[in-house]
Amino acid sequence: MISMQPYQNPTYFLYLTVALLPIMIGLLRGKRYRLYETVISLAFLVLTFGGNVWIQGVSLIGYIIYEVALIFGYFHYRQKKNASWVFYLLVFLAIVPLAIVKLEPVFQLGKISLFSFLGISYLTFKAVQMIMEIRDGAIKEVNLMLTLQFLLFFPTISSGPIDRYRRFIKDYTQVPDQDKYLTMLGKAVHYIFLGFLYKFALAYFFGTVMLPKIQMIALAHHGLSWWVVAYMYCYSMDLFFDFAGYSLFAVGTSYIMGIETPVNFNKPFISKNIKEFWNRWHMTLSLWFRDYIYMRLVFLMMKKRWVKSRVAMANIGYITLFLIMGIWHGLTWYYIVYGIFHACAIIINDMWLRFKKKHRQAIPHNKFTEMFAIFLTFNLVCFSFLIFSGFFDKLYFMH
Protein backbone atom coordinates (compact mmCIF):
# COMPACT_ATOMS: atom_id res chain seq x y z
CA MET A 1 0.00 0.00 0.00
CA ILE A 2 1.23 3.44 -0.86
CA SER A 3 0.89 6.09 1.82
CA MET A 4 -0.85 9.39 1.13
CA GLN A 5 0.37 12.81 2.10
CA PRO A 6 -2.50 15.01 3.26
CA TYR A 7 -4.33 17.10 0.63
CA GLN A 8 -2.10 16.02 -2.25
CA ASN A 9 -4.49 14.34 -4.67
CA PRO A 10 -8.19 13.89 -5.57
CA THR A 11 -8.39 10.46 -3.91
CA TYR A 12 -7.43 11.98 -0.57
CA PHE A 13 -10.17 14.58 -0.91
CA LEU A 14 -12.67 11.87 -1.85
CA TYR A 15 -11.81 9.86 1.29
CA LEU A 16 -11.95 13.05 3.32
CA THR A 17 -15.42 13.99 2.07
CA VAL A 18 -16.85 10.53 2.75
CA ALA A 19 -15.23 10.35 6.21
CA LEU A 20 -16.33 13.85 7.26
CA LEU A 21 -19.96 13.49 6.21
CA PRO A 22 -21.13 11.64 9.37
CA ILE A 23 -19.19 14.10 11.57
CA MET A 24 -20.91 16.97 9.79
CA ILE A 25 -24.38 15.45 10.16
CA GLY A 26 -23.65 14.78 13.83
CA LEU A 27 -22.52 18.34 14.53
CA LEU A 28 -25.56 19.72 12.68
CA ARG A 29 -27.73 17.67 15.03
CA GLY A 30 -25.75 19.00 18.01
CA LYS A 31 -23.77 15.83 18.63
CA ARG A 32 -20.15 14.83 18.47
CA TYR A 33 -19.61 11.17 17.65
CA ARG A 34 -16.33 10.94 19.51
CA LEU A 35 -15.67 7.28 18.88
CA TYR A 36 -16.28 7.70 15.15
CA GLU A 37 -14.07 10.83 15.06
CA THR A 38 -11.28 8.94 16.78
CA VAL A 39 -11.55 5.97 14.40
CA ILE A 40 -11.48 8.33 11.40
CA SER A 41 -8.47 10.20 12.81
CA LEU A 42 -6.61 6.92 13.26
CA ALA A 43 -7.55 5.83 9.74
CA PHE A 44 -6.15 9.03 8.26
CA LEU A 45 -3.00 8.72 10.34
CA VAL A 46 -2.54 5.20 8.98
CA LEU A 47 -3.12 6.55 5.48
CA THR A 48 -0.32 9.10 5.95
CA PHE A 49 2.10 7.14 8.14
CA GLY A 50 1.39 3.56 7.10
CA GLY A 51 1.93 1.53 3.93
CA ASN A 52 5.35 1.98 2.36
CA VAL A 53 6.39 4.56 4.97
CA TRP A 54 5.42 2.43 8.00
CA ILE A 55 8.81 3.19 9.57
CA GLN A 56 7.60 6.78 9.93
CA GLY A 57 4.53 5.43 11.68
CA VAL A 58 6.70 3.56 14.18
CA SER A 59 8.75 6.73 14.78
CA LEU A 60 5.56 8.71 15.31
CA ILE A 61 4.27 6.25 17.91
CA GLY A 62 7.61 6.23 19.75
CA TYR A 63 7.81 10.00 19.60
CA ILE A 64 4.27 10.45 20.96
CA ILE A 65 4.88 8.07 23.87
CA TYR A 66 8.09 9.95 24.71
CA GLU A 67 6.57 13.45 24.57
CA VAL A 68 3.40 12.47 26.44
CA ALA A 69 5.56 10.90 29.17
CA LEU A 70 7.50 14.19 29.45
CA ILE A 71 4.32 16.28 29.57
CA PHE A 72 2.62 14.12 32.20
CA GLY A 73 5.80 13.66 34.21
CA TYR A 74 6.35 17.40 34.30
CA PHE A 75 2.72 18.09 35.15
CA HIS A 76 2.92 15.84 38.20
CA TYR A 77 6.21 17.37 39.26
CA ARG A 78 4.86 20.91 38.79
CA GLN A 79 1.94 20.26 41.15
CA LYS A 80 4.46 19.98 43.98
CA LYS A 81 7.57 21.91 42.96
CA ASN A 82 8.74 24.51 40.47
CA ALA A 83 12.51 24.53 40.02
CA SER A 84 13.78 26.38 36.97
CA TRP A 85 16.37 23.80 36.05
CA VAL A 86 13.74 21.04 35.85
CA PHE A 87 11.70 23.20 33.49
CA TYR A 88 14.70 23.93 31.23
CA LEU A 89 15.68 20.26 31.29
CA LEU A 90 12.18 19.25 30.22
CA VAL A 91 12.11 21.77 27.36
CA PHE A 92 15.51 20.49 26.28
CA LEU A 93 14.37 16.85 26.40
CA ALA A 94 11.24 17.70 24.42
CA ILE A 95 13.38 19.25 21.66
CA VAL A 96 16.01 16.46 21.54
CA PRO A 97 14.25 14.23 18.96
CA LEU A 98 13.73 17.18 16.60
CA ALA A 99 17.33 18.33 17.13
CA ILE A 100 18.61 14.86 16.20
CA VAL A 101 16.49 14.86 13.03
CA LYS A 102 17.81 18.31 12.08
CA LEU A 103 21.43 17.41 12.86
CA GLU A 104 21.46 14.04 11.15
CA PRO A 105 21.95 15.27 7.56
CA VAL A 106 24.91 17.38 8.70
CA PHE A 107 26.77 14.51 10.32
CA GLN A 108 25.41 11.93 7.87
CA LEU A 109 24.65 9.50 10.62
CA GLY A 110 23.00 7.12 8.25
CA LYS A 111 20.70 7.11 5.31
CA ILE A 112 17.41 6.33 7.01
CA SER A 113 16.58 8.45 9.99
CA LEU A 114 15.18 6.53 12.91
CA PHE A 115 13.36 9.47 14.40
CA SER A 116 12.15 11.31 11.39
CA PHE A 117 8.54 11.47 10.33
CA LEU A 118 6.38 13.98 8.51
CA GLY A 119 5.33 16.79 10.84
CA ILE A 120 7.80 16.19 13.69
CA SER A 121 8.60 19.91 14.00
CA TYR A 122 4.95 20.86 14.30
CA LEU A 123 4.38 18.25 17.00
CA THR A 124 7.42 19.55 18.87
CA PHE A 125 5.95 23.08 18.89
CA LYS A 126 2.77 21.70 20.44
CA ALA A 127 4.60 19.65 23.08
CA VAL A 128 6.98 22.46 24.12
CA GLN A 129 4.07 24.85 24.31
CA MET A 130 2.27 22.52 26.73
CA ILE A 131 5.34 22.24 28.97
CA MET A 132 5.72 26.04 29.07
CA GLU A 133 2.06 26.60 29.89
CA ILE A 134 2.18 23.91 32.58
CA ARG A 135 5.04 25.81 34.17
CA ASP A 136 3.07 29.06 34.06
CA GLY A 137 0.17 27.29 35.70
CA ALA A 138 -1.98 28.18 32.69
CA ILE A 139 -2.67 24.51 31.97
CA LYS A 140 -4.30 23.38 35.19
CA GLU A 141 -5.14 19.82 34.24
CA VAL A 142 -3.94 17.42 31.59
CA ASN A 143 -6.03 14.62 30.23
CA LEU A 144 -4.41 11.77 28.29
CA MET A 145 -7.16 11.45 25.68
CA LEU A 146 -7.38 15.21 25.09
CA THR A 147 -3.59 15.52 24.87
CA LEU A 148 -3.48 12.77 22.24
CA GLN A 149 -6.38 14.35 20.31
CA PHE A 150 -4.56 17.69 20.42
CA LEU A 151 -1.16 16.37 19.35
CA LEU A 152 -2.46 13.96 16.72
CA PHE A 153 -5.29 16.09 15.27
CA PHE A 154 -4.99 14.73 11.74
CA PRO A 155 -6.02 17.77 9.62
CA THR A 156 -3.00 19.74 10.86
CA ILE A 157 -0.51 16.97 11.63
CA SER A 158 1.84 17.36 8.66
CA SER A 159 2.48 21.13 8.54
CA GLY A 160 0.25 22.95 11.02
CA PRO A 161 -1.28 25.49 11.56
CA ILE A 162 0.02 25.21 15.13
CA ASP A 163 -2.91 25.31 17.52
CA ARG A 164 -2.76 25.89 21.30
CA TYR A 165 -3.77 23.19 23.80
CA ARG A 166 -6.23 25.27 25.81
CA ARG A 167 -7.84 26.71 22.68
CA PHE A 168 -8.12 23.31 21.02
CA ILE A 169 -9.71 21.45 23.93
CA LYS A 170 -12.23 24.27 24.42
CA ASP A 171 -13.50 23.56 20.89
CA TYR A 172 -13.10 19.82 21.16
CA THR A 173 -15.02 19.39 24.40
CA GLN A 174 -18.08 21.25 23.16
CA VAL A 175 -20.36 21.32 20.15
CA PRO A 176 -20.88 24.64 18.33
CA ASP A 177 -24.54 25.70 18.19
CA GLN A 178 -26.23 25.24 14.85
CA ASP A 179 -25.98 28.85 13.63
CA LYS A 180 -22.33 29.02 14.47
CA TYR A 181 -21.62 25.65 12.90
CA LEU A 182 -23.39 26.66 9.69
CA THR A 183 -21.20 29.77 9.49
CA MET A 184 -18.16 27.58 10.08
CA LEU A 185 -19.25 25.21 7.30
CA GLY A 186 -19.68 28.16 4.94
CA LYS A 187 -16.16 29.31 5.76
CA ALA A 188 -14.83 25.77 5.40
CA VAL A 189 -16.21 25.43 1.88
CA HIS A 190 -14.81 28.84 0.98
CA TYR A 191 -11.38 27.99 2.42
CA ILE A 192 -11.19 24.61 0.71
CA PHE A 193 -12.15 25.98 -2.71
CA LEU A 194 -9.76 28.89 -2.33
CA GLY A 195 -7.20 26.24 -1.38
CA PHE A 196 -7.85 24.42 -4.66
CA LEU A 197 -7.24 27.64 -6.57
CA TYR A 198 -4.05 28.38 -4.61
CA LYS A 199 -2.53 24.93 -4.56
CA PHE A 200 -3.67 23.20 -7.72
CA ALA A 201 -3.86 26.19 -10.09
CA LEU A 202 -1.54 28.97 -8.91
CA ALA A 203 1.14 26.98 -7.06
CA TYR A 204 1.07 24.45 -9.91
CA PHE A 205 1.59 27.23 -12.46
CA PHE A 206 4.38 29.01 -10.58
CA GLY A 207 6.04 25.98 -9.03
CA THR A 208 5.65 23.16 -11.52
CA VAL A 209 5.24 24.91 -14.88
CA MET A 210 7.37 28.04 -14.61
CA LEU A 211 9.96 27.53 -11.88
CA PRO A 212 11.98 24.64 -13.40
CA LYS A 213 12.27 26.51 -16.72
CA ILE A 214 13.34 29.77 -15.11
CA GLN A 215 15.80 27.92 -12.90
CA MET A 216 17.42 26.19 -15.86
CA ILE A 217 17.91 29.43 -17.78
CA ALA A 218 19.10 31.31 -14.67
CA LEU A 219 21.67 28.60 -13.84
CA ALA A 220 22.86 28.56 -17.46
CA HIS A 221 23.79 32.25 -17.10
CA HIS A 222 26.36 31.41 -14.38
CA GLY A 223 26.00 34.28 -11.98
CA LEU A 224 23.65 37.17 -11.57
CA SER A 225 21.21 37.93 -14.35
CA TRP A 226 17.66 39.19 -14.70
CA TRP A 227 16.62 35.53 -14.66
CA VAL A 228 17.61 35.37 -11.00
CA VAL A 229 15.14 38.18 -10.37
CA ALA A 230 12.46 36.26 -12.28
CA TYR A 231 13.30 33.19 -10.20
CA MET A 232 12.95 35.23 -7.02
CA TYR A 233 9.39 36.37 -7.80
CA CYS A 234 8.31 33.03 -9.21
CA TYR A 235 9.67 31.12 -6.20
CA SER A 236 8.02 33.56 -3.78
CA MET A 237 4.64 33.13 -5.45
CA ASP A 238 5.01 29.35 -5.43
CA LEU A 239 6.03 29.34 -1.77
CA PHE A 240 3.04 31.45 -0.78
CA PHE A 241 0.34 29.74 -2.85
CA ASP A 242 1.59 26.27 -2.00
CA PHE A 243 1.74 26.77 1.75
CA ALA A 244 -1.29 29.06 1.98
CA GLY A 245 -3.25 26.53 -0.10
CA TYR A 246 -2.26 23.68 2.20
CA SER A 247 -3.11 25.80 5.27
CA LEU A 248 -6.56 26.61 3.86
CA PHE A 249 -7.27 22.87 3.46
CA ALA A 250 -6.12 22.20 7.01
CA VAL A 251 -8.21 25.02 8.48
CA GLY A 252 -11.25 24.15 6.32
CA THR A 253 -11.12 20.49 7.37
CA SER A 254 -10.79 21.52 11.03
CA TYR A 255 -13.84 23.77 10.74
CA ILE A 256 -15.91 20.90 9.34
CA MET A 257 -14.89 18.96 12.45
CA GLY A 258 -16.05 21.85 14.64
CA ILE A 259 -12.53 22.98 15.55
CA GLU A 260 -11.55 26.58 14.83
CA THR A 261 -7.89 26.02 14.01
CA PRO A 262 -6.26 29.47 13.69
CA VAL A 263 -5.48 30.71 10.17
CA ASN A 264 -1.91 30.86 8.92
CA PHE A 265 -1.95 33.69 6.38
CA ASN A 266 -3.65 37.07 6.26
CA LYS A 267 -2.73 38.80 2.98
CA PRO A 268 0.99 38.94 3.80
CA PHE A 269 1.95 40.84 0.65
CA ILE A 270 0.04 43.99 1.59
CA SER A 271 2.22 44.49 4.70
CA LYS A 272 3.68 47.99 5.07
CA ASN A 273 6.71 46.80 7.01
CA ILE A 274 8.53 43.65 8.07
CA LYS A 275 6.99 43.67 11.51
CA GLU A 276 3.53 43.67 9.97
CA PHE A 277 4.63 40.99 7.52
CA TRP A 278 5.42 38.60 10.36
CA ASN A 279 1.97 39.21 11.81
CA ARG A 280 0.48 38.09 8.49
CA TRP A 281 2.84 35.37 7.20
CA HIS A 282 2.81 31.82 8.64
CA MET A 283 1.10 33.42 11.61
CA THR A 284 0.78 30.42 13.89
CA LEU A 285 4.53 29.90 13.65
CA SER A 286 5.53 33.54 14.13
CA LEU A 287 3.05 33.97 16.99
CA TRP A 288 4.45 30.82 18.57
CA PHE A 289 7.94 32.32 18.38
CA ARG A 290 6.64 35.63 19.71
CA ASP A 291 4.80 34.13 22.68
CA TYR A 292 7.08 31.27 23.65
CA ILE A 293 10.53 32.63 22.80
CA TYR A 294 10.65 36.38 22.27
CA MET A 295 8.34 37.52 25.05
CA ARG A 296 9.70 35.03 27.56
CA LEU A 297 13.28 35.95 26.78
CA VAL A 298 12.56 39.69 27.06
CA PHE A 299 10.65 39.04 30.30
CA LEU A 300 13.65 37.22 31.72
CA MET A 301 16.14 39.89 30.60
CA MET A 302 13.99 42.64 32.07
CA LYS A 303 13.21 40.90 35.35
CA LYS A 304 16.77 39.78 36.05
CA ARG A 305 18.13 43.09 34.74
CA TRP A 306 20.63 41.34 32.50
CA VAL A 307 20.41 44.09 29.93
CA LYS A 308 19.67 47.72 30.67
CA SER A 309 18.57 49.24 27.41
CA ARG A 310 15.14 48.42 26.00
CA VAL A 311 16.44 48.64 22.46
CA ALA A 312 19.25 46.18 23.15
CA MET A 313 16.80 43.83 24.82
CA ALA A 314 14.43 43.90 21.85
CA ASN A 315 17.31 43.34 19.44
CA ILE A 316 18.73 40.39 21.39
CA GLY A 317 15.21 38.99 21.37
CA TYR A 318 14.87 39.40 17.58
CA ILE A 319 18.27 37.87 16.83
CA THR A 320 17.57 34.87 19.07
CA LEU A 321 14.10 34.38 17.61
CA PHE A 322 15.13 34.53 13.96
CA LEU A 323 18.30 32.50 14.43
CA ILE A 324 16.26 29.71 16.01
CA MET A 325 13.67 30.03 13.26
CA GLY A 326 16.42 29.77 10.62
CA ILE A 327 18.05 26.76 12.26
CA TRP A 328 14.64 25.14 12.68
CA HIS A 329 14.24 25.15 8.89
CA GLY A 330 17.42 23.12 8.63
CA LEU A 331 21.14 23.44 9.28
CA THR A 332 22.21 24.97 5.98
CA TRP A 333 23.95 28.29 5.51
CA TYR A 334 21.07 29.79 3.55
CA TYR A 335 18.40 29.09 6.18
CA ILE A 336 20.62 30.68 8.82
CA VAL A 337 21.36 33.69 6.60
CA TYR A 338 17.61 33.96 5.98
CA GLY A 339 17.09 34.16 9.74
CA ILE A 340 19.81 36.77 10.21
CA PHE A 341 18.45 38.77 7.27
CA HIS A 342 15.03 38.99 8.88
CA ALA A 343 16.50 39.81 12.29
CA CYS A 344 18.42 42.73 10.72
CA ALA A 345 15.36 43.83 8.76
CA ILE A 346 13.19 43.96 11.85
CA ILE A 347 15.87 45.75 13.90
CA ILE A 348 16.17 48.42 11.18
CA ASN A 349 12.38 48.51 10.99
CA ASP A 350 12.23 49.27 14.72
CA MET A 351 14.86 52.01 14.38
CA TRP A 352 12.78 53.62 11.65
CA LEU A 353 9.59 53.37 13.74
CA ARG A 354 11.34 55.10 16.66
CA PHE A 355 12.67 57.81 14.34
CA LYS A 356 9.19 58.27 12.86
CA LYS A 357 7.62 58.61 16.30
CA LYS A 358 10.02 61.43 17.16
CA HIS A 359 9.66 63.33 13.89
CA ARG A 360 5.99 62.71 13.22
CA GLN A 361 5.34 66.17 11.78
CA ALA A 362 8.33 66.20 9.47
CA ILE A 363 7.63 62.88 7.73
CA PRO A 364 4.94 62.89 5.05
CA HIS A 365 2.28 60.21 5.18
CA ASN A 366 -0.07 59.65 2.25
CA LYS A 367 -1.30 57.07 -0.24
CA PHE A 368 1.94 57.30 -2.17
CA THR A 369 4.21 56.65 0.83
CA GLU A 370 1.99 53.72 1.80
CA MET A 371 2.25 52.22 -1.68
CA PHE A 372 6.00 52.71 -1.54
CA ALA A 373 6.17 50.97 1.85
CA ILE A 374 4.21 47.98 0.54
CA PHE A 375 6.40 47.80 -2.56
CA LEU A 376 9.60 47.95 -0.51
CA THR A 377 8.42 45.34 2.00
CA PHE A 378 7.26 42.99 -0.76
CA ASN A 379 10.61 43.12 -2.53
CA LEU A 380 12.58 42.73 0.68
CA VAL A 381 10.52 39.68 1.57
CA CYS A 382 10.91 38.17 -1.91
CA PHE A 383 14.66 38.68 -1.67
CA SER A 384 14.68 36.89 1.67
CA PHE A 385 12.81 33.99 0.03
CA LEU A 386 15.44 33.88 -2.70
CA ILE A 387 18.04 33.35 0.04
CA PHE A 388 15.73 30.79 1.64
CA SER A 389 15.27 28.88 -1.63
CA GLY A 390 18.93 27.85 -1.65
CA PHE A 391 19.24 29.15 -5.19
CA PHE A 392 22.52 30.93 -4.41
CA ASP A 393 23.85 27.61 -3.18
CA LYS A 394 23.09 26.04 -6.56
CA LEU A 395 24.37 29.07 -8.44
CA TYR A 396 27.72 29.46 -6.68
CA PHE A 397 28.64 26.34 -4.73
CA MET A 398 27.36 23.32 -6.60
CA HIS A 399 29.49 23.18 -9.74
Binding site: D136, A138, F299, K303
Partner: protein, 76 residues
Protein backbone atom coordinates in the same frame (compact mmCIF):
# COMPACT_ATOMS: atom_id res chain seq x y z
CA UNK B 1 -5.64 50.94 41.07
CA UNK B 2 -7.23 52.32 37.91
CA UNK B 3 -4.97 55.39 38.01
CA UNK B 4 -1.88 53.26 38.50
CA UNK B 5 -2.75 51.15 35.46
CA UNK B 6 -3.41 54.25 33.37
CA UNK B 7 -0.13 55.84 34.51
CA UNK B 8 1.75 52.69 33.51
CA UNK B 9 0.03 52.66 30.13
CA UNK B 10 0.64 56.36 29.48
CA UNK B 11 4.27 55.86 30.38
CA UNK B 12 4.68 52.83 28.11
CA UNK B 13 2.85 54.25 25.11
CA UNK B 14 4.28 57.75 25.54
CA UNK B 15 0.84 59.18 24.91
CA UNK B 16 -2.00 60.51 27.07
CA UNK B 17 -4.57 59.16 24.65
CA UNK B 18 -4.91 56.05 26.83
CA UNK B 19 -6.15 58.25 29.70
CA UNK B 20 -8.74 60.15 27.69
CA UNK B 21 -10.09 57.30 25.58
CA UNK B 22 -10.29 54.11 27.62
CA UNK B 23 -11.32 52.10 24.57
CA UNK B 24 -8.22 52.91 22.55
CA UNK B 25 -7.07 49.84 20.68
CA UNK B 26 -3.57 49.36 22.01
CA UNK B 27 -2.22 46.69 19.67
CA UNK B 28 -3.91 47.53 16.38
CA UNK B 29 -2.90 51.17 16.71
CA UNK B 30 0.72 50.18 17.34
CA UNK B 31 0.74 51.91 20.75
CA UNK B 32 1.82 48.69 22.45
CA UNK B 33 4.16 46.05 21.05
CA UNK B 34 5.48 42.78 22.50
CA UNK B 35 8.29 44.64 24.25
CA UNK B 36 5.97 47.11 25.94
CA UNK B 37 3.62 44.27 26.81
CA UNK B 38 6.33 42.52 28.78
CA UNK B 39 7.06 45.81 30.57
CA UNK B 40 3.38 46.15 31.35
CA UNK B 41 3.30 42.68 32.91
CA UNK B 42 6.36 43.45 35.03
CA UNK B 43 5.01 46.84 36.15
CA UNK B 44 1.72 45.23 37.16
CA UNK B 45 3.74 42.78 39.21
CA UNK B 46 5.94 45.33 40.99
CA UNK B 47 3.47 48.21 41.40
CA UNK B 48 0.25 46.30 42.05
CA UNK B 49 1.40 42.81 43.00
CA UNK B 50 -0.69 41.28 40.21
CA UNK B 51 0.98 38.23 38.76
CA UNK B 52 0.24 37.60 35.08
CA UNK B 53 2.25 34.84 33.41
CA UNK B 54 2.99 35.33 29.71
CA UNK B 55 0.76 32.31 28.92
CA UNK B 56 -2.27 34.07 30.37
CA UNK B 57 -1.76 37.09 28.22
CA UNK B 58 -4.29 36.62 25.43
CA UNK B 59 -4.06 39.81 23.35
CA UNK B 60 -7.75 39.99 22.51
CA UNK B 61 -8.52 40.15 26.27
CA UNK B 62 -6.02 42.94 26.94
CA UNK B 63 -6.31 45.25 23.94
CA UNK B 64 -7.88 48.37 25.50
CA UNK B 65 -7.22 50.28 28.77
CA UNK B 66 -10.73 49.31 29.96
CA UNK B 67 -10.12 45.62 29.34
CA UNK B 68 -6.76 45.78 31.12
CA UNK B 69 -8.33 47.46 34.17
CA UNK B 70 -11.05 44.80 34.25
CA UNK B 71 -8.42 42.04 33.99
CA UNK B 72 -6.31 43.52 36.78
CA UNK B 73 -9.37 43.83 39.02
CA UNK B 74 -10.22 40.22 38.31
CA UNK B 75 -6.71 38.94 39.03
CA UNK B 76 -5.82 41.31 41.88
Amino acid sequence: MKDTVLDILADLTGSDEVKTNLDTELFNSGLLDSMATVQLLLELQTQLGVDVPVSEFERSEWDTPNKIIAKVEELG
